[in-house]
Symmetry: C2
Subunit: 154 residues, 2 copies
DNA sequence: AGAATTTCTTATCCTAGGTTAATGCGCAGG
DNA sequence: CCTGCGCATTAACCTAGGATAAGAAATTCT
């Protein structure tokens, strides 16, 4: 736990780095973001005074997000604490799932989201009607049908 | 904490109800979803065996999500526990913010997301360049410019 | 200050996905 | 067993927002 000055534009966490830190913004403005395979940035969140910012991924896994300063800032750096579990569903696990979902919704096409869904939840995909998959993906059932047809003819 | 059988299609939590419960799925499949002002459903998450499902909103606030059963299910119902705070940033607060963001991304147009952003983060909107607002909203800077122009001429 | 780089805006054109409507299918209920 | 309804699919058409390009304005660097 230490305090640090960060200049505008300075990157304090890169994708792939060890990801055991939480940054508390004492002053200034930070952002976390991902960069997709086409090189586009997608801002996940902003954090101003009195907010914390971190990658939602587990501490022992590599970071998926970049974090940098939008203004000259002062941050206090903490280690992520072991988190309370509840019936096997940890908060961090939940947060990480949502982080991935937000990034997905911002950066991927319907087809990519569909593929990702099938990979991540092969079991649920079998048990749920099409219209609910569409609803989860944020598209209409008609669009999902189009997508699946393209799939078959390829 | 009690166990309950739920039949397919049965709604176990409605929007507006008291929201102090977490549902652990012992067997079956549940979903949480919102209904927007146009009456469209947007599934927020699925929960199968050994998962928990709940509205991320604070226990003392009314629920924003509906929860119902996709299959006949057995759930154990818990009360939400007081959650650990960390430097003023509680996990639940984080989860709730992400829940809103996901729903937003699934159900709202770029204009609506922009308006919502301005309302929710008026401060940050002033301090951040346009392209970053666009990036946060999941649109291109060019599209944000279009939106802002329409705004001015109305 | 002046040059160089980035940001913002505008215009044109294009495409992914939405809307509407019609058809066929499977399943629940009488 | 039939009827009816919700679900999935297809097709035709439409629109919000993306891509590209170019000029203006702001910022940064030297």
């Amino acid at each position: 736990m230490k305090t640090k000055h960060i200049r505008k534009g300075e990157i304090i966490q890169q994708r792939g780095e060890i990801n055991s830190k939480v940054f508390h913004v004492d002053k200034g403005l930070l952002r976390s973001y991902s960069i997709d395979e086409k090189g586009r940035e997608h801002i996940f969140m902003f954090a101003a005074e009195a907010c914390c910012i971190a990658d939602g991924q587990k501490p022992e896994k590599p970071a998926e997000l970049f974090i940098d300063a939008i203004e000259d800032s002062i941050v206090t750096i903490y280690e992520k604490e072991p988190e309370p579990e509840f019936k096997g569903n940890a908060y961090i696990q939940m947060i990480y799932g949502l982080q991935r979902r937000v990034i997905m919704l911002m950066s991927s096409s319907a087809i990519e989201r569909y593929e990702s869904f099938l990979e991540t939840y092969p079991d649920i995909a079998q048990r749920v009607p099409q219209r609910m998959i569409a609803s989860y993906l944020g598209i209409t059932p008609e669009s999902l049908s189009k997508i699946k047809r393209k799939y078959r003819n390829s």
